[in-house]
């Protein structure tokens, strides 16, 4: 197993070192020093990943490195170890590459904020855990990263902790994620019980011997669905998505890095990593596909009515993650990971550009108070335009290729999945161009220009170069990032990581191929592609109609659709529903029934009554004892010591 040592452990440990330095000494550092440490150690991790990439093609995969034993009980053992294959290589590149760019951007974005060192410390902590997550060679090491990124997310959402909404959002994210983790943990217990290990190589070796569970729900189906519960928490899918919109309370670079490009894709990665389980559990796959599709559609509808620029992007992220799960759910893991990568580029870009917009207009996030910014912040405008066209699915930009691949794969399994996905693509294009028109076109509706309230911030200004350079790089990637799959090169590269033996995937594959002749398939695929492009164009046209040429229309439509519109604006009242169904009963029930009712009432009162009864019997004894506790203290202590001394003396003689 030990081939060439690649020292993979350096990749996560470098950012951890950066976090430790900034965390322990950062308060005494100057801002440039803090930035140099934070960006430097993240960059070092990126460099290390490139070093690994340079040697990647000479490796026999998967390349596994184990370092030490973490814990052991009886015959169950978990080692610290890392697992490098095509899948983790892609994830490493995305996480460190996009992460590095966002670190650079943050230097500019956070420069004037208090707690600068704290920010970079947390950001590096995040990198450590995220890289541990994608490199893990076992589910439990993955769980280290899984919980750790949740911690980093908690800290960074609540970065401005004096704001109550930020502190609450951080807590909500952590707790909702814990609900998902509960499912994940039960899946791990099942794996331990039935396979005696959590190490990928051992678990997967056992599982690959098992047949596909076609006859109904079996062990693997249960495990798969439980893993999906975990993934739904981390990757904000129905019904656990509610934390992600609130997470926008965090600084915008955090939204870009953690809540768009990397952490929230961990669930997708985990499902893809567990493909051997899902491949043998068609019912679990169906669950994944349905949840993904529903979430994609549902979040897109909410995104259409949001007025906060970051909230639109947040719901968009939830929706795009839904696409990735749809891909996994039809066993098209390569398509899912492909979209994960392109999404990291264009959604990272969109968030950073939105941050640049917010920066320019002095902290305003409401798009109703923007408009006409096109000429004032041209770099931001042009890069954001790239991102918008990319996510909307215009060829030949990145999002077009990956989304098209997902929809094509979905169509081969179930036309309903495809239909909803296609319609969602139209919605996506619409809400993104709505954002684009509202922000950059028409008249400026805000107040930043006129009032010079914030000293030196009054005028709308383009962001500094340190923020623009990452934008430009991500814009380029959003354009060309999809080209890697021309000639199916990306899929061919990833394909070995998803080899599986006898599986549901090959079943659907062969079913699809049996139905369609190869030549016919080519023309069908082209037809589907044209439909996708049409959906994107229609979205653009509708947005243009409503927000550029006839800006008075949206209000009229909203008035006409009164009830439905209010429901959408209020996010279908799901937060309120959860509060009534779960939070309130739990808190009030715990207080009134468990604590005051049972604990203080039933148990304590009855015992005190018993004690009172006993006290009456031994009243004199009680009188002697309780009144004099203080003054007898020394005597009792001395007495106890005396007794012990006496006993020792007996022992020695």
């Amino acid at each position: 197993m030990t081939q060439t040592a690649l020292h993979l452990w350096l990749i996560p440990l470098l950012p951890l070192l950066g976090a430790a330095i900034n965390g322990l000494f950062g308060r005494r550092f100057s801002r440039p020093t803090v930035a140099a440490v934070g960006v430097g150690f993240c960059g070092a991790a990126f460099a290390m990943v490139l070093f690994v990439l340079a040697r990647f093609f000479a490796l026999s995969l998967p390349h596994i490195e184990t370092y030490a034993t973490w814990l052991r009980a009886g015959s169950f053992q978990v080692d610290y170890g890392f697992y490098l294959d095509e899948l983790s290589m892609i994830m490493l590149l995305v996480v460190t590459g996009v992460g590095f760019l966002i670190h650079i951007y943050s230097v500019g974005y956070m420069w004037e904020e208090g707690g600068f060192y704290r920010f970079f410390c947390y950001l590096n902590v995040f990198m450590f855990f995220m890289l541990t997550l994608v490199l893990a060679h076992s589910y439990l090491v993955m769980f280290i990263g899984w919980e750790g990124v949740g911690l980093a997310s908690y800290l960074l959402i609540g970065f401005w902790f004096t704001k109550d909404s930020a502190a609450s959002a951080g807590k909500k994210a952590f707790i909702v994620n814990r609900i998902g983790d509960f499912g994940f943990l039960i899946a791990l217990f099942l794996l331990i019980k039935h396979f005696g290990s959590l190490t990928f190589s051992q678990v997967f070796a056992s599982i690959s011997q098992l047949p596909v569970e076609t006859a109904g729900a079996g062990l693997l189906t249960t495990i798969g669905i439980l893993l999906m519960v975990g993934a739904a928490g981390k990757s904000a899918q129905i019904p656990l998505y509610v934390w992600l919109p609130d997470a926008m309370e965090g600084p915008t670079p955090v939204s870009a890095l953690i809540h768009a490009a990397t952490m929230v894709t961990a669930g997708v990665y985990m499902v893809a990593r567990s493909h051997l389980i899902f491949d043998r559990a068609p019912m679990a796959l169906t669950v994944v596909a349905v949840i993904g599709t529903l979430t994609a559609f549902y979040a897109a509808t909410i995104g259409m009515a949001q007025t906060d620029i970051k909230k639109v992007l947040a719901y968009s992220t939830i929706s795009q993650l839904g696409y990735m799960f749809l891909a996994c759910g039809v066993a098209a893991y390569t398509a899912g990971i492909f979209h994960l990568m392109t999404h990291a580029f264009f959604k990272g870009l969109l968030f950073l550009a939105a941050g640049s917009v917010i920066h320019a207009v002095g902290g305003e996030q409401d798009m109703r108070k923007m408009g006409g910014l096109r000429s004032k912040i041209p770099w931001t405008f042009w890069t954001m335009t790239m991102g918008t066209f990319a996510i909307a699915g215009f060829p030949p930009l990145a999002g077009f290729f990956s989304k098209d691949e997902i929809l094509w794969q979905a169509s081969r399994v179930n036309m309903a999945l495809w239909g909803v996905g296609e319609f969602t693509a139209f919605l996506t294009s619409f809400y993104m161009f709505r954002l684009w028109f509202l922000t950059f076109f028409g008249e400026y509706r805000g107040s930043a220009e006129e009032s010079h309230a914030h000293a030196g911030h009054g005028a709308i200004h383009e962001s500094p170069k340190i923020m623009l350079i990452p934008l430009v790089i991500l814009a380029i990637l959003s354009v060309v990032g999809g080209w890697v799959n021309i000639g199916k090169n990306f899929e061919k590269f990833l394909e070995p990581a998803f080899r599986s033996g006898s599986t549901a995937y090959t079943l659907t594959e062969s079913a699809a191929q049996a139905g369609k002749a190869v030549g016919e398939q080519g023309s069908t695929e082209l037809l589907f592609t044209l439909t996708s492009v049409l959906a994107a164009v229609l979205g653009l046209l509708l947005a243009w109609l409503l927000y550029k040429s006839h800006p008075e229309l949206p209000a009229k439509i909203a008035a006409a659709l009164n009830g439905l519109y209010t429901a959408v604006v209020n996010k279908y009242y799901v937060d309120e529903l959860y509060a009534i169904l779960f939070v309130k009963p739990l808190v009030e029930g715990s207080r009134k029934i468990l604590w005051q009712g049972i604990d203080q009432g039933l148990i304590d009162d009855s015992i005190n009554d018993m004690a009172d009864g006993a006290r009456k019997v031994s009243d004199t004894f009680r009188h002697m004892q309780s009144g004099n506790v203080r003054s007898y203290a020394g005597w009792i202590a001395l007495g106890a010591a005396g007794v012990i001394a006496y006993m020792i003396w007996i022992a020695l003689t």
Partner: protein, 505 residues
């Protein structure tokens, strides 16, 4: 003196050095500083000596080590028999580790009767260590009861407003429960003719105890009741929140950190060790109580307006994990249970120290009195967060390892046990993060909180070791598990035989 010589003396030394220190303290003049320094040196000496145990402990061996066995009193037949295995050794170390921290955290917070305070603290340390090192049932019972007096006095004299109520409640609860254990011990002595744990265990295993079959259910219960109150298990837990709220910080640290573990240690050593068949028979309702404790303790913790009560109820929840692990009769479960005992000792000990820091400054534990403290007290906030994270079971910190092992063991025993227990990961995040938010985040709501001083050097000196220990235990738990596992396998032997017998029938 060579190490082998020390091996037979070491347990006696560790156990009685604090008592020796306490006796010497009586003769030291009432200069508070001298007394504090002396107490610190004594407790550090005990700690350093206790490091001899893990350093010379034979990891592969499952039996008792550092054995010392001499006849103490001929009639009744009482032996001075002390030894430790993988279970008790770490509990001894937990005690010797926490006591110096208790001295540090009490340095400035105890102004009156300083001498009495440290004398009681050191006597308590001896009694606690004695509980874990004794292998003679009489000696064990002696130390068991001996912990009550100094602890009740610490609460009753140095506690807060309702201290006498809390002290008497604590004393009566555990005293009454212990009577049942005493009865069981005396019955065993009457039949076996020895208090020696190993002899009693052998006699039972070889079927040489007349009338054992009929008495066993009662004997099991006798021990169990005493331990259950100490743990404390639902529904006999209500003494704990009162005792904690009134106790001085050091009292709370040792109460939650070590004293509660006497109960779970007792279950492991005596209930499982002497009555495996009864343990298995009674496991369903015991596990049910443990699960209720996990969930109920956490939910009640969530709605506490008082920080110390919140931590107290969280202890009930965490100790529920320990009982769940023990009565899962799986190797992961018991390994995890012992690890939770140690991890909980460190993190909850630290949480009580942290609560004490606030009480020192504001003389209240009411959560609503705070808010926004992260601004005036950033270092304090950072320590608090770190310990909260260790307590919610973040991987790579100490809380995770034990909880994970316990739950996987419980799941193996019966899926429902693991599933219900695992909801604990959600609850603990709820109550701790909510409390943390209300104390540290948001804007300052009480003017006087603006000027609260951050941690002092002494407070940091008490908190750093706990924080570092939480990290080491999380990253390298094998240091502990290596020694625990053989004892677990040893404890599980009769259960394997029971299972084999069940299959054979």
């Amino acid at each position: 003196m060579s190490t082998t010589d020390l091996n037979s003396w070491i347990l006696t030394l560790i156990t009685f050095i604090p008592l020796g220190g306490a006796i010497l303290l009586i003769f030291i003049p009432r200069r508070d500083r001298d007394i504090r320094v002396f107490a610190l040196v004594t407790s550090l000496l005990a700690f350093i000596l206790s490091l001899h145990l893990p350093a010379h402990f034979e990891r592969g061996q499952s039996g008792f080590q550092f054995d010392v066995n001499a006849q103490w009193i001929a009639s009744p037949n009482i032996h001075y028999h002390m030894a430790v295995d993988g279970f008790s050794m770490w509990l001894v170390l937990l005690t010797t580790f926490l006591t110096p921290l208790c001295v540090l955290i009490s340095w400035n917070s105890i102004h009156n009767r300083v001498k009495e305070f440290f004398i009681l603290l050191l006597i308590l340390e001896t009694a606690l260590i004695g509980v874990f090192t004794s292998l003679d049932l009489f000696l064990f019972y002696f130390f068991w009861e001996a912990t009550l007096i100094p602890m009740a006095l610490l609460i009753g004299i140095f506690g807060h407003e309702r201290r006498v109520y809390a002290a008497v409640k604590f004393f009566l609860y555990t005293m009454v429960a212990s009577v049942f254990m005493l009865a069981a011990i005396l019955w065993l002595y009457a039949k076996v003719g020895s208090f020696d744990f190993v002899m009693v265990q052998d006699a039972i295993r070889n079927g040489q105890v007349p009338g054992f079959a009929t008495a066993a259910p009662w004997l099991f219960l006798g021990f169990f009741v005493a331990f259950a109150v100490k743990v404390p298990l639902f529904p006999v837990h209500t003494w704990l929140p009162d005792a904690h709220v009134e106790a001085p910080t050091a009292g709370s640290v040792l109460l939650a950190g070590v004293l509660l573990k006497m109960g779970t240690y007792g279950m492991l050593r005596f209930n499982l060790g002497l009555f495996p068949e009864q343990s298995q028979r009674n496991a369903p309702w015991i596990v049910t109580l443990a699960l209720i404790g996990i969930i109920y303790g956490a939910l009640v913790a969530m709605v506490q307006p008082n920080m110390k009560k919140l931590i107290a109820y969280s202890s009930i929840s965490h100790l529920g994990f320990v009982v769940l692990g023990i009565f899962s009769f799986t190797s992961a479960g018991i390994n995890g249970a012992v690890f939770v005992m140690l991890a909980h000792g460190v993190s909850t000990g630290a949480l009580f120290m942290l609560a004490g820091v606030l009480h020192e400054r504001r003389h209240t534990y009411e959560i609503r009195e705070f808010g926004g403290l992260a601004t005036p007290m950033p270092i304090y906030a950072a320590f608090f967060l770190f310990i909260v994270l260790s307590s919610v079971g973040l991987p790579l910190l100490n809380g995770f390892v034990g909880e994970f092992l316990v739950l996987s063991g419980a799941f193996r025993a019966r899926a429902l046990y693991g599933i219900l227990g695992a909801t604990g990961v959600i609850w603990s995040a709820c109550y701790l993060l909510w409390m943390y938010q209300r104390v540290f985040f948001g804007k300052i709501t009480h003017e006087m909180n603006n000027t609260l001083p951050d941690l002092t050097g002494l407070e940091r000196a008490a908190l750093w070791p706990a924080a570092v220990m939480a990290l080491i235990m999380g990253v390298a738990p094998l240091i502990w598990l290596n020694a625990i596992d053989p004892a677990v396998q040893n404890a599980l032997v009769p259960f394997g035989q029971l299972a084999a017998k069940a299959v054979g029938q």
